[in-house]
């Protein structure tokens, strides 16, 4: 009796577990042509609002041409972009195509043997049209596809400048002293000189990539400090924090800089809450819409440092799309990425986002606004480096983002910020001797 009822319960329990275990199996249906399902972990919307809508359109369009290929796009969030893909790498299963920020993050996964080079699946003739492929070239291979180019420069509110009697630089670029003088004038006129957001830490990271870079001579210069041959406490690397600190102390930033995220800071500029802010092409486009086409101007970041990179631009592909090692259809996945670089898609990309496509075939005449035209010229002339891409992820998170917050929230001095860089680099080197080896061998 009892044994029998016990068995009934056990069976019930097992059934429940089986039921839940079998909940979501997709039946394999046979068809004439082999059906290919591709999963694409996609990130771009935060850089370029409109990017999601463009991707939806592109997937639909691709389906028309290749009815056997289904692309399942999974939008990714900035906060978990790295950790989600790291989990997939640990699991050795996940998307066929994934997104990571260029250079450091991409190569970090290359070294974990999680990627196949896209140059093995796409002809050199095609790839030569893609811009900034150098950001992901390693061991003679190109590891991912660029899609767009963004750079950041300073956007300013013309009306506020006029009100405070500030004239924008004739050459398009101020010296640091001119910049500070302008800030003081704006402040005196009761205007917030520079509006930004650093709750998420990216505001500070942009200062590093943009102003911090000016003191350096090359990316290898930075690498020497990362691998421990030089000290981050050297003002060469971290001296610029004093200038940032001075600006914060003088009240040149909005008071709520620490309760806004980076993109909320740009939004506040669009609302007319400050005279200057960092702007990507997309953010500038938004400001032009919100404030009026003739109300916004752009200038290059004032010159602070005297390193060889002081004049280098910062345009980057930002995000890279690449093929994963475990994908069973790398060729089909690569074909889709090539499709995204067809003329029609490149034009559509620009129409959706206002950000230029990273392709030599992109028709630059589409950019008609003089302000945005100016940005494009800066972004495509001369060498371009986004310095944040040349940091190990842990150092970016623990030192770059954190040191910026330290200064913006005034919870530490510039010396504390420098010490944090040094300490975090040491921690990273100790915790990741294997990664350190890769960084040591990496010839930039």
């Amino acid at each position: 009796m009892s044994a029998k009822s016990f068995r009934v319960i056990s069976i019930a329990v097992i059934l429940v577990m089986l039921f839940t275990a079998c909940g979501k199996t997709t039946p394999a249906t046979g068809s004439t042509k082999e059906k290919v399902n591709l999963t694409f972990w996609y990130w771009a919307e935060s850089d370029a609002p409109g990017a999601d809508a463009w991707m939806t359109e592109s997937v639909e369009a691709y389906k028309q041409v290749n009815p056997n290929v289904t692309i399942n796009v999974v939008p990714q969030s900035t906060d978990t972009l790295i950790s989600a893909f790291q989990s997939a790498v640990t699991a050795k299963s996940g998307p066929d195509i994934a997104s990571q920020w260029a250079t450091g993050p991409v190569l970090g996964f290359v070294w974990q043997d999680a990627l196949v080079p896209i140059s093995d699946y796409v002809s050199a003739d095609e790839i030569k049209n893609w811009l900034n492929t150098n950001e992901n070239t390693y061991n003679g291979k190109v590891w991912g596809a660029s899609m767009y180019l963004i750079g950041i420069e300073i956007m300013y509110n013309k009306a506020m400048f006029a009100q405070a009697g500030v004239t924008p630089p004739a050459s398009g670029r101020w010296t640091w002293d001119e910049f500070i003088t302008a800030c003081e004038k704006l402040k005196t006129a009761g205007i917030t000189p520079f509006i930004a957001g650093d709750k998420d830490g990216y505001g500070g990271a942009w200062w590093f990539a943009h102003v911090g870079m000016q003191g350096l001579d090359s990316t290898d210069d930075l690498r020497q400090a990362i691998i421990g041959n030089k000290d981050f406490t050297d003002p060469h690397y971290t001296g610029w924090y004093s200038s940032l600190d001075e600006m914060v102390k003088k009240g040149y930033f909005n008071e709520d800089v620490m309760s806004l995220d980076l993109s909320q800071g740009a939004q506040a500029f669009s609302q007319g809450q400050g005279a200057m802010s960092w702007g990507t092409d997309g953010m500038i486009k938004q400001a032009l819409t919100d404030l009026g086409a003739d109300k916004v101007g752009v200038m290059r970041t004032p010159q602070l440092g005297a390193g060889k990179l002081a004049d280098t631009g910062n345009a980057t592909q930002s995000i890279t799309f690449f093929l994963t090692k475990w994908s069973t259809h790398p060729q089909e996945a690569a074909d889709f990425l090539v499709y995204l670089h067809t003329a029609d898609r490149l034009t559509s990309w620009y129409q959706h986002t206002g950000v230029i496509a990273a392709d030599a075939r992109f028709d630059r005449n589409l950019v008609t606004d003089p302000v945005l035209k100016q940005m494009v010229e800066w972004e495509t002339t001369g060498p371009q480096i986004w310095l944040e891409n040349f940091l190990p992820g842990q150092l970016d998170s623990d030192a770059d983002l954190t040191a910026g917050q330290m200064i913006f929230s005034q919870s530490g001095t510039p010396a504390d910020a420098a010490a944090l860089w040094q300490r975090s680099a040491e921690t990273w080197r100790n915790q990741h001797p294997d990664e350190l080896t890769n960084w040591k061998n990496w010839q930039q």
């Binding site: 056990s10 530490g412 294997d434």
Partner: protein, 300 residues
């Protein structure tokens, strides 16, 4: 008659194994979800990285953890969160006693005050993110009350971020405490309280000397549950509201473990951190065992 004899015949062995059959399904899950992972993290925490990529056994991960100031800060942050448990408990008790005093509309109040406990943590976190912004409602109220000097960057300042998170946790958990205490109060015998009132005890004397001792059991239960919450269940609040910042000011152990395990690719460090956290929670286990002794005495 015959059936009974038969069952006793085979019963001796069955009787012996019967309790274990009842325990079996739970045991399988517990081994899978708790015991295997604990053994595994201890092993992983002893595997250290080397420049050539080959892993060897040793205590390096622990040394690196103890040398890392962020680890101490994260542990300290959990400790500071524990400090909000007394505040939470006292507030819940106070509201429960007020409701118990047959205030008009107490059922409605109870319904409203319990509601935050039903809200999802990310929902609470996102909403409070806006309310506690520098130009959020909280500061707006302070400013319009002429208290502008009190307005703070609640989630963006190193000094205020942890207290602010505590307030949000208290906001959500208080409903649970109120309902729990109120239910216990209502099961008390009326005569005792009435006798105290007749003896001339005032409101506070009555509750302090008569009510509180009666509630000690349920208070202890609540305190232990909340201590566990502050040590082991605050990830969602931190992740949604601050991402551990500014700096590391709101980084808690759970968040730091997650970061090392899934963002920094350092399973060894993550495991060593986890083992240390495990050691700390053993302190709570001691508390728990006291609770168990009480409940055993009651049960027996």
């Amino acid at each position: 008659m015959l059936e009974k004899k038969l069952s006793t015949g085979t019963g001796i062995t069955f009787r012996k194994i019967e309790p274990y059959l009842y325990l079996a399904p739970a045991t399988i899950l517990v081994v899978l979800v708790f015991l295997y992972p604990i053994v595994d993290i201890i092993r992983t925490s002893l595997l250290q990285n080397n420049p050539d990529g080959i892993k060897t056994f040793g205590f390096t991960n622990y040394r690196l953890v103890f040398e890392d100031p962020v680890f101490w800060q994260a542990l300290g942050n959990n400790g500071k969160l524990l400090l909000s448990v007394p505040i939470l408990t006292v507030l819940s008790l106070l509201i429960a006693i007020l409701l118990f005093e047959h205030v008009r509309g107490w059922l409605v109040y109870r319904g409203i005050i319990f509601m935050p406990y039903v809200l999802a943590v990310p929902v609470v976190g996102v909403t409070f993110g806006y309310l506690l912004g520098l130009n959020g409602i909280f500061n707006t109220l302070l400013r319009s009350a002429g208290l502008a000097f009190l307005a703070q960057n609640w989630l963006g300042s190193v000094k205020w971020v942890l207290p602010s998170i505590s307030v949000v946790i208290i906001y959500r958990e208080m409903g649970f405490g109120v309902v729990l205490f109120l239910a216990r109060l209502m099961s008390l015998e009326k005569e005792i309280l009435e006798a105290a009132a007749i003896d001339g005890a005032n409101f506070w004397q009555k509750h302090f000397y008569v009510t509180l001792p009666q509630l000690s059991g349920v208070i202890e239960f609540f305190v232990v549950v909340e201590l566990i919450t502050m040590l082991s269940w605050v990830f969602a609040y931190v992740f949604v509201m601050t991402g551990g910042g500014p700096g590391f000011a709101s980084t808690v152990m759970e968040f730091y473990i997650w970061k090392h395990a899934f963002a920094f690719r350092s399973p060894g460090i993550a495991s060593a951190l986890a083992v240390v956290l495990l050691m700390v929670t053993t302190l709570l286990i001691v508390l728990q065992l006291r609770l168990r002794r009480r409940s055993l005495e009651e049960g027996a």
